[in-house]
Subunit: 247 residues, 6 copies
């Protein structure tokens, strides 16, 4: 069930049977020569949509721009400053809590969002902790590739060159959902270098075409489908466990 | 051309021929008994996508949660505080400007966003004005229903009960794109009351089911298609005129 | 009745008979070769003072610096960033609400303030809406020239060249109140150009002496008096209607 | 010379002969049973206006609402939070500096503003200091009663019961300028108690009618005139010395 | 009793007998050729530690970086912007208040902190004042050299050249506690100049080696001990008086 | 070398031979029945001080209050909100960078600080990335227990019950430096439970005396010394490697 494709009375009904919601969250940032700029937002959106359709779990619209300052040397990247991202997350959380949601599951597609997400959770809990009141809701985040079983599936499909940015797996997930966007690009070198980075200038000097450790030319819609189905089932199980906890 | 479905070298190429981009911006808020919570984000997204596909104009991901505090008494509504929205818009603008975009066209689907958008534009221009430097970019916003010719089309299709919130027109636009989400609900009263509002409590007391002045039961995918096609063509003309201006 | 010229026991008494207050709000910005930099603050202040004296309606001190970034290429202009203006308005509103005011009428003299004012109203309502509580106060803004009957009066007096910035009407209003500040300047061209603007550099390049569409050399204290009297009576009627509503 | 009663070409001319400006700054807060709520803003405004008229020194519009949280238990008081006040002062300073002002003299009427003013000065200097650049402007504040010779004049006129809030001197200054606002109220006790305070509740419990240590029933327009004239002359000398320094 | 060297049950016990706490607050900034960069944080920390050990008064960890923008031209100086400092102080205060502390005594070692401290106190009281609730706690600040009797002691020990920055007294206090950090440097001139300052560039141009009016070569551990003992006893008396007040 | 115990000319000299600095960062929060409230700040401070003394590496004052909202149900805990912590870290970083530091190594003692630290790093890099300039400095954080070899040492000393909050290791480190603060408390249960937490109320309900998974009664000064020496040597190696990198 997609919140943005439901009418409000449907949400009112949903809240009678569940206090949980999944919020896909990602980033709009370069993903190498053949990966979509929307990859990190699209992956959790695609998986969550399938999970919502299959299970009736409610899925919010996607928080589609995150923390991507280090990718700004590649055209098309859009970033929030962490302080802005923390503020925006407060507003999303406060809105959902106002309707009675008590379990908010941020389903994340971008490693660079994790610090801001975790900081936002502390920012949200802090007023309750400072007031000596029990906070009535629980916030949780999970990266789609960290769902039980998913990384194993990815490594089986891409034993070499899955990498850590513009991974073969994430590109495959988007190709499955948007087959018209498949791009055939020769990778050079075949597998991108590994390493660390700081700001955007440093990143581009270190990773010339944007990839880290990956050969995303291996991605196909069919491989993406396998990953999506595995992640979909795992998300349904994880979200239901979270929504049921302490209730 | 959708930014989030392009790879960064495609954006690099695009910038050689145009410095303009369309950013759909909307809201996630109740739209009456049969309207989608995502209506105000989906309408500009749908129209801009068709315009981008038909013309090659670049379309950014949708800024999908806006200023909707007055709708919070209806489940599913998500709001940004105006101060948060202004901060987030700065980050989107700064990111796009960094890549060389000089004409940013916010294509808006929610009247309640206008003050925050306009305030954000002044906030963005202010540092240039305070430094006595010429700002290298131009910001513009336009509501989809204010595009030349669109309102006339809407009024021809819905001569009675188009209304001002949860309008027949906007519901039709979303039904065209998401025919599986069509909801058949009897409206009572057939045409909703008109009026003003302040906070969420006041809004719900005044407009019991969320509509203002509308009978959205008239909406169909077919009617939506007529509106989308008219808006698509008008947007292409308007955006191209804006992108070309002063260049 | 002017708040700043009353002692606190007088305000305590006033609150026993009315919960309404008028807050003049304007800007300090260039108004062409013969218009005062304070024009946009002085106009609502002048009209509100006369209305307060004639009717007993309470008038707050003037919020005298607003959003004027686009005028900064002309010496003397002072601006608030919109984010600062929104924050300052929260503090004014919170202070007045704390005393029991329930109807706050911002009487505006500057079109450029409208987005920040409307955004500030949403910012003020948002915590109530997010908490599911009814907000106990109502905020309203009105431009002095939009009061019933006023624009008609202005157009009768200045059928040609009233314009849209540094208007003959607004300059006349200030000349009525400050006849010692009348400045005789030949306008060149007689009627200034019309157009749009973005930042301060763009504004000055487009409007060389600061005027938009106006010939303020027509302004005289006598013409200003006619406008002030019309606006005064209209403000009294409007404010009383607002203060009485829902009470 | 009043900035808000000048046209921009007059400010352009002024800047050719001086880089200095006086900004009256005060507060809107209770001043006891017979003192005006605007006292702290009106006093520096009145003195600065006379100084500007007599000397040609440029005087800005008055920053008329300051830090007055401790007076909020008395109706009519309006406060800025210190953080808001610091932000607003940055915008005023940045605007004036952009025009070329290099000496900004905040002429203060409220002791409670001093911390926020001094903090705002450090906030304004900090970016220059952090960038290792010389700041091109100097900020200064002075309370009107601290001008050379003024306190002596006040004490001669009011040897007993001048006090420290709602002082006989400050009430007299406003009575001089606004004789129609003179209020005859019997003070009980004749001289108010002295003491410290924290928040608004504490203040009102300690100082029942708002005065601290004063008997403002002694104030008359005539006494106010003596003070204003002394302060006017002292301000002219002080401001000119400041404007000339290091130039 | 040092909070950071206690376990939480010890603080729980302490709160049964006292609601008061001393918070040393200082700065990390240049203190001339032989003074420690930590001087302004170390002085109140040293004195408060001795007072806490001698009396059982609870002492918090030291707020060790304050407002020092004007010293940034000297290597090693670290500053908070005043707006950051005010925000940080709110969090410290809110945390302590949450545990039941009702008297928070900021024991200050840096004159430049005073405006930010006072502004932070108003910021903390403002929400209570705006809500018409009595604030349950009292905030107080005192500079260590303003404790009764301390300045007299300093002037007796250093009748000449104690100065106002990098004073002989404060350097002596740190030498007493950290005798291994004593630095023997010839001062040139022997007594530094007096004067005012604005930003960091201006400060360094005016005070070439960082001192103002002082000859800190006079400082010795033995002289520091005399000052510390005097200040310790005075602080115990002052803090106990404050903690007991209104309880 | 301790920055706060050096004079500014010593820092000026240091910068001629190194651009690196270690900043200990921790938290002031409950550490169970026998652990010090300052544990998380003291551990990195103690280790860094020994490393600085042994190697000449420069060590800044300790950032001693961090993100500890979840511990606020235990008296004595002090927290910064993440947004405040990010702002404060910007100021520390900006100050150090202004002096020429190019490698800033945050040596961390509190897991709960990591999201705010990482978010602060992105916040600091973002303006450079948005401006298309290479950031001239590199920020790094490392938890003391993650230094090469340290965890192995801890597990050898405490094969059972080292735990994850109020660990035997960290308590031992503080006991080594502050033997007078050793507290003998019987733990009940001997080893505390494991688990997750959200806000302060939830934390205290889950972990009754504050410990997670630990038996800190095993801590002694002697064991602490072994850990400190191992960590000291590892920190020197790590910091030198970082300071030398890319230089």
């Amino acid at each position: 069930m997609q919140l943005h494709q439901a009418a409000w009375p449907e949400i009112e009904d949903y809240l009678k049977r569940s206090k949980g919601i999944v919020v896909p969250i990602g980033s709009t940032e370069q993903h190498g020569p053949n990966g979509l700029l929307g990859t990190d937002a699209l992956c959790p959106e695609i998986i969550a949509r399938e999970a919502g359709d299959a299970s009736g779990i409610l899925v919010a619209p996607t928080f589609n721009v995150g923390n991507a300052q280090h990718h700004l040397s590649f055209p098309g990247t859009i970033t929030l400053r962490p302080s802005t991202m923390i503020a925006a997350l407060q507003d999303w959380i406060d809105s959902l809590v106002r309707h009675g949601f008590e379990r908010i599951y941020f389903f994340n597609g971008h490693g660079g969002n994790i610090p801001s997400l975790q900081a936002a959770f502390s920012e949200s809990y802090a007023p309750w902790s400072l007031r000596d009141e029990a906070c009535p809701y629980v916030l949780k985040s999970c990266n789609w590739w960290d769902l039980p079983g998913v990384m194993k599936t990815c490594r089986e499909i891409f034993p070499v060159g899955d990498g850590s940015h513009a991974t073969a797996s994430e590109v495959a997930v988007t190709y499955y959902a948007y087959p018209d966007s498949v791009k055939h690009v020769e990778m050079n070198p075949k597998i991108a270098p590994e390493g660390d980075f700081t700001d955007a200038d440093n990143y581009r000097k270190t990773f010339a075409d944007g990839r880290i450790g990956s050969d995303p030319a291996q991605a196909t819609p069919e491989k993406g489908e396998v990953i999506v189905k595995a992640a979909r089932d795992s998300l349904i199980a994880e979200a239901n466990a979270f929504f049921g906890a302490n209730q």
